[in-house]
């Protein structure tokens, strides 16, 4: 089979982010435009997975130059074809502009957002066509599986994973090699390998991007795990909200089966492995491993007490190894390149890299993969480009509903599993939401707790009743009915729930509340005692907005956005706000181009 050679490859991101920004239209336009110019034989269009820089989507990269075009519109395609692809002139106006210097940067490798990243799990994402097994293999894909199955014994593989220092990327941080060893040592006629892709944390989407952008890597990681622990069957549990990930994984599995990479006697090693996809049905608690297994068995997805751990009694009572998507994505690299190379990156107890989903009030939102030990400041300001509209950094929330809020004095904290725990947050699955001074911390705590409360499965009392009572208190505080003693009561509830809940969901549910009380107690106090929300978010506790006449330029945009017509314009074209009508929603202040509107 001889592959056709093209003079240029145009990569278009078709991850969920870019598709919803219109990348499919860009692709069709490009196809038409190439056809019109008789270029289809010279230039190949490749649909790739996520590049991580969703904020700037739709994204296109032109190889061999590696030129990065972003925020494309349909109308821009013609210019790229005419100028760049025909005449070799880069279209400057469509390049990425450095937020501070406004300088355009042609090559994506030079963009700060990418420069500081170190990509292992995401190495192929955005570089290869996820629906082509050939492209994966051409990038050394399945090399690690070949090495493992033909040159290594299960014990050697486990030793390698153990000495790499890889810890579970799903959040808990349990050493992966140790987990494998437990399952390996069990004597059983049947064992299972499960990949937990029930990524439910609001604000995290790395698992989705890996499955959409590089599904074969997960398959390869699971084959290696199956061989190591002695399992011949695996399940990938994907949440149903990720249709594209399911579709691509399905295709990847059939392609791997066709090439004999899944099925019987893989690499003539005598090892058999079968992989199934299991679609979730919308229950956050199914991300907890025992609940996930109950769900695969066709039951209500409720957790069970551990021990026994899944390694002893897992799926249908058989020894089972469960890891998260990102954990499996690191395995091929560790086996192919060796544990030493992997463990040379990171901190003493947290090796390798971690993918974070950087979102919130930040300029460059998207997926970033950085070495463990990178500081929060580097992530927020160097990679993330700082806060939007020059706002002031207030806190960063890590670990989703199980994590906590970290204030600005910890910006220089090197990120790893243990350092985050020490400050009352946690790694979680790697969501990072940046908050500025217009975010109310009490409201944020209430938001997370209302999430965990509604997702509580109801099996154990501390979680079912406790989170409900905590939420009632928080609702009261946000409505201006907070009482003396509420903070203490929240803390007491929180500690009890942490100690007594059955599973990880309940045990970590109080974290957002406890960490905001720890670092932002003053905000709670001003809600309770001063009946005032300093960030102006809780509308019952917010003062009316006032327009500073000196700064106002009279553009009138505030009039248009005010939902209650509280902005008045007098005969002299002066604007003011009627504080009897104002509901403190803040829409005018957000819209104001000169920041002339402040809360009074």
């Amino acid at each position: 089979m001889k592959e056709k050679i093209y003079r240029s490859h145009v990569l278009i991101c078709t991850g969920t982010g870019c598709v919803s920004s219109g990348s499919k239209n860009i692709k069709h336009e490009l196809q038409d435009e190439l056809a019109d110019n008789n270029l289809l034989d010279e230039i190949k269009i490749v649909e790739t997975g996520c590049h991580g820089f969703c904020e700037k989507g739709p994204i296109m990269i032109v190889y061999p130059e590696g030129v990065f075009y972003c925020q494309l519109k349909k109308e821009d395609v013609q210019e790229i074809v005419q100028e760049h692809l025909l005449k070799g002139r880069i279209v400057d106006r469509l390049l990425f502009k450095e937020p501070l210097t406004e300088e355009s940067i042609p090559s994506y490798k030079d963009i700060d957002f990418y420069k500081k990243q170190h990509r292992i799990a995401l190495a192929n994402c955005g570089k290869i066509d996820p629906e082509s097994i050939e492209e994966y293999i051409a990038n050394n894909g399945y090399e690690a599986a070949g090495k493992a199955l033909t040159e290594m014994t299960p014990a050697e593989i486990i030793e390698e994973v153990k000495s790499s220092g890889l810890r579970g990327r799903g959040g808990g941080g349990f050493p992966t090699g140790l987990k494998w060893e437990f399952a390996y040592k069990q004597d059983s006629d049947k064992k299972y390998v499960i990949c937990n892709a029930d990524e439910g944390d609001p604000g995290a989407f790395m698992d989705r991007s890996i499955l959409e952008g590089d599904p074969h890597k997960i398959i390869e990681g699971m084959i290696i795990c199956g061989y190591a622990i002695g399992a011949d069957e695996g399940y990938v549990y994907v949440r149903a909200e990720y249709p594209l990930a399911i579709k691509r994984l399905q295709k990847a599995i059939s392609n791997a089966e066709e090439l004999g990479l899944l099925g019987d006697n893989i690499f003539s090693s005598g090892f058999n492995f079968k992989l199934n996809i299991k679609k979730g049905a919308g229950a956050f608690v199914c991300g907890e491993e025992t609940a996930l297994m109950a769900s695969i068995e066709g039951k209500r997805g409720m957790p069970n007490p551990r021990p026994p751990y899944p390694a002893e009694k897992g799926l249908w009572g058989k020894p089972t190894n469960i890891n998260n998507v990102e954990s499996y994505a690191n395995i091929p690299h560790i086996i192919a390149k060796g544990a030493e190379k992997f463990s040379s990156i990171g901190t003493e107890n947290s090796k390798g890299t971690k993918v974070f989903a950087l979102t919130g009030k930040i300029k460059n939102t998207g997926l970033v993969e950085v070495p463990m030990g990178t500081t929060l400041r580097e992530v927020v300001f160097d990679i993330g480009g700082g806060l939007t509209e020059g706002k002031k950094f207030k806190a960063i929330q890590t670990g989703g509903p199980s994590g906590g809020c970290i204030p600005s004095n910890y910006l220089d904290l090197p990120i790893d599993y243990d350092s985050l725990l020490e400050v009352g947050a946690m790694m979680g699955s790697g969501g990072m939401v940046v908050m500025d001074d217009s975010t109310c911390m009490v409201d944020v705590a209430r938001f997370f707790l209302s999430f965990t409360q509604s997702e509580s499965c109801g099996k154990c009392t501390p979680c079912r009743e406790g989170t409900k009572r905590m939420l009632e208190i928080l609702n009261r505080i946000c409505q201006g009915e907070g009482e003396q003693g509420d903070i203490l009561l929240l803390e007491e509830f929180g500690h009890h729930i942490k100690e007594t809940a059955l599973c990880g969901l309940g045990q970590s549910a109080p974290n957002p509340v406890l960490s905001t009380i720890k670092y932002f107690k003053k905000e709670y106090e001003s809600h309770i005692y001063d009946k005032r929300c300093p960030a102006g978010v809780c509308s019952e506790l917010s003062a009316a907005f006032v327009i500073n006449k000196e700064e106002c330029v009279g553009c009138g945009q505030c009039v248009k956005v005010c939902p209650v017509d509280a902005v008045i314009r007098d005969k002299e074209e002066n604007y003011s706000i009627d504080d009897n009508l104002c509901i403190s929603c803040g829409a005018c202040a957000q819209k104001c181009p000169v920041d002339a509107i402040k809360q009074g």
Binding site: T16, G17, V19, S20, S21, F53, C54, E55, G57, E199, G200, D201, P202, G203, A204, F205, R208, A240, E241, Y242, P243, K278, K279, G280, A281, G282, A283, F284, S295, I296, E297, G298, K299, R300, G301, M302, A357, T359, G360, K361, T365, G366, Q397, G400, G431, V433, M435, T439, V444, F447, F448, F451, E455, C457, C585, A587
Partner: protein, 162 residues
Amino acid sequence: MVCNCTYEESTKYLEPLQEILKNYQTIEKNLVPILQDVQDEYGYLPRDILSEIATYLDLSLSQVFGVVTFYSQFHLKPRGENIIRVCTGTACHVRGGSEVLEQIQEELNIKNGQTTDDLSFTLETVACIGACGLAPVIMINDETYGRMTAEKVLDVLGEYIE
């Protein structure tokens, strides 16, 4: 049978279900996939169908009902032709997702979780769609719409209103 239909009518009604069941062995682990397929076919999970499934898998109706009510994706009532999902995840929350939700509620005159009387729209909130880079985000059916505002969402809805 709860309904008053004739034998022919009920056979016709159950035909798609029988087609789906053919693809599955009678083991409990197939309950969730069967329910997913059935809901795709019927739009929701009618009670009569649930008893048929229970019989097929040799489970009690209460067991099936327990699973249906546990997972948020399953619905016991008919749903609108277009499903609007408003993300209320963290990133969308801090970037103004609730205003978008309010706007939709006002425009369609339904609350979160309800269906319009003409069965054209069902409005739901979801915890995270996983497109946080584009927050605030809504989904209508399988299409994702990012960077929403209270004004922009009206244009998007307009595409679906006949």
